[in-house]
Symmetry: C2
């Protein structure tokens, strides 16, 4: 595995996201845009953080917004507040929700909230899945796009119906919008038009936007004010969050208009990859800038081939693979990298993939 | 109140800490010391964070150390782990412990841990106080110095006895060392020699050291590994913590040798302030770089006088006061500011204080 990372690092063109390392220059570039004399936030207060929170509340069409160091913290807190308000300590979400598989069960261990897994692991959950639950949860959490299955999206009308059902049944509905901006081109909707269907929403700043870290939780004033108390309890009410706030704002402004182009390049790249022997993407046609590449060959073999191709072309997809039942896979997200690479270079890389994998 | 903040901000010499605003330049100055190509940490891994953790483990004489975004998070987690290990969900600490008064009861609300308040609010707790507890707690948390009573310190032998008592009674003992480095000159001890008396220790990087934010939790390997799981649960295992790590390291190196001088200037300044009518400091003779200034006059009157003196001399103590039973008070901590101000300028300020308050 070591050498696949090396050949990835050595490659001039990294097709995942923005062809940049997550190095110190990313932060310096953002900070250099701001005056030295800008005052730090202080425990959640101050122009530097409150202005950004207002801007995000406007973007998302909510009364208020609160900046958090992480989405993990923001979402657990939103779920906790809704459960307390509804008097039901249960959240229903997709079986591969971030809360279920990436947070060491914080929602259960810190908040004593039970979870209901909706639908099946390898597909989106539907309104029908939700209707089958006997005891209504306090809150439903819907992730757009559903990352762990390649960034799939329900049709907009399905979300409308889920939202209506929740409202009718006194269930809160929260949007895990870690990659919300990345969905907008597919839906042809504004963030506001989507968030209107949810009681609260979280967005992240280091996925498609390429910031350092940090998250926004938006909702009504009462939710947001209570979330600040929980932020303090979690240890997230830092004396200074501005390194994340400023970089979030900088990269949001830099990339917010590029989501359409990221989406288009993802669709185009997926078509090319699906033409390569042993390759298939999920979804077949991406609906955001992300998709999964499944390769039905043993991981070690795929590694060897990719290392060779990365080294030969100086173009790379990802530094690693994940074993699956049918072989291996990787998650890819497009960004500036695919906008910047020359057509000839990309063609050379795809040709090389095509040729080498056809031999097997 | 607004105008006291203004006259503080306008003053050329701010005697609290390092005569600097918490503005963006503090971070930029630190980051400019590091190469652009340094790779970000990734969810707690990577040279940039692990090297600093090792360095802090060495400093504190512990097997291992983990970087946290905040002390609130680090300490709740340490307490939780010790309580789980001891099978007793109770922590005993000073009535004005940070966990009791500044964290919105996170330890209770997130971890269901009961608290026992030792001794009385306005003095250090003693071994005798600890011995009076009927049901032994899982962990004792001792804060050095005890910030909320002016940064008082128990004698070293008292800590030794408390530590022995805990060990003998199978109680874990945790050090809230937010300002640990600031205690070393008084004790004439190394950090290691103090930390040896504790099972775990937390230190902070934005008090005397003047960093941006961030904390270290140190202890045995097992504690530290489990604390990483809880860090994830709390939402503190950020994809990138390096803005805090690098600034912590930078300001640690810059100021670690200055604690002795900060302590001496605090002692000197307290003597002068105690000579001013209506003023008294707690402790009378500081034992670290911090102390409280109590003024037995109505807050509004003190504000007016201080605004006038700040404006006249361009020297300031703090931007605000806190109401007390006998008048008002402020917490002061010395740092680079008192090392840098000219003797004449300081004298002018003290003279002005002395003259104006003598009139009342």
């Amino acid at each position: 595995m070591e050498s696949m990372i090396k050949s990835y690092n050595d490659a001039t063109h990294k097709l995942h996201y923005h062809n940049i390392s997550r190095d110190l220059s990313v932060l310096k570039k953002a900070l250099n845009n701001y005056d030295d004399k800008i005052e730090s936030d202080m425990y959640g207060n101050g122009k530097i953080i409150n202005d950004f929170e207002s801007k995000m509340a406007d973007l998302l069409g909510k009364e208020s917004a609160v900046f958090f160091p992480s989405g993990t913290m923001a979402q657990q807190i939103a779920v906790r507040i809704w459960c307390d308000l509804k008097g039901v300590k249960t959240v229903a979400y997709h079986a591969k929700s971030h809360l279920e598989i990436h947070e060491q069960d914080g929602i259960k261990k810190l908040h004593n909230i039970n979870t209901i897994l909706l639908g099946e692991k390898d597909r989106l959950f539907t309104l029908s899945d939700l209707k089958t639950i006997k005891e209504k949860p306090g809150v439903v959490l819907l992730e757009l796009p559903q990352r762990e299955i390649g960034g799939q999206l329900p049709e907009f009308d399905e979300i409308v119906e889920i939202s209506k059902y929740c409202k009718f049944n006194n269930i809160a509905i929260h949007l895990d919008g870690a990659r919300l901006l990345e969905c907008l081109p597919y839906y042809h909707k504004t963030a506001k038009e989507i968030c209107r269907l949810f009681d609260s929403v979280y967005i992240s700043f280091y996925k498609g936007l390429g910031g350092i870290a940090g998250a926004i939780l938006a909702g009504n004033i009462s939710l947001c004010e209570e979330s600040k108390i929980w932020k303090r309890r979690h240890g997230g009410d830092l004396i200074s969050l501005y390194p994340y706030v400023l970089s979030a704002d900088y990269y949001y402004e830099l990339r917010k208009e590029r989501m359409e182009s990221y989406y288009k390049t993802a669709v185009h790249l997926a078509i090319e990859l699906n033409n390569i022997k042993h390759f298939r993407t999920i979804p077949k046609t991406p609906v955001t800038n992300m998709f999964h590449i499944h390769i039905n060959l043993p991981m070690e073999l795929v590694e060897q081939l990719l290392i060779m191709i990365y080294n030969k072309t100086s173009v790379a997809l990802k530094p690693g693979l994940i074993i699956t039942n049918e072989g291996c896979m990787m998650e890819l997200a497009t960004g500036d990298a695919l906008n910047e690479i020359s057509e000839a270079k990309l063609k050379e890389f795809l040709k090389s993939l095509s040729t080498e994998f056809a031999k097997i």
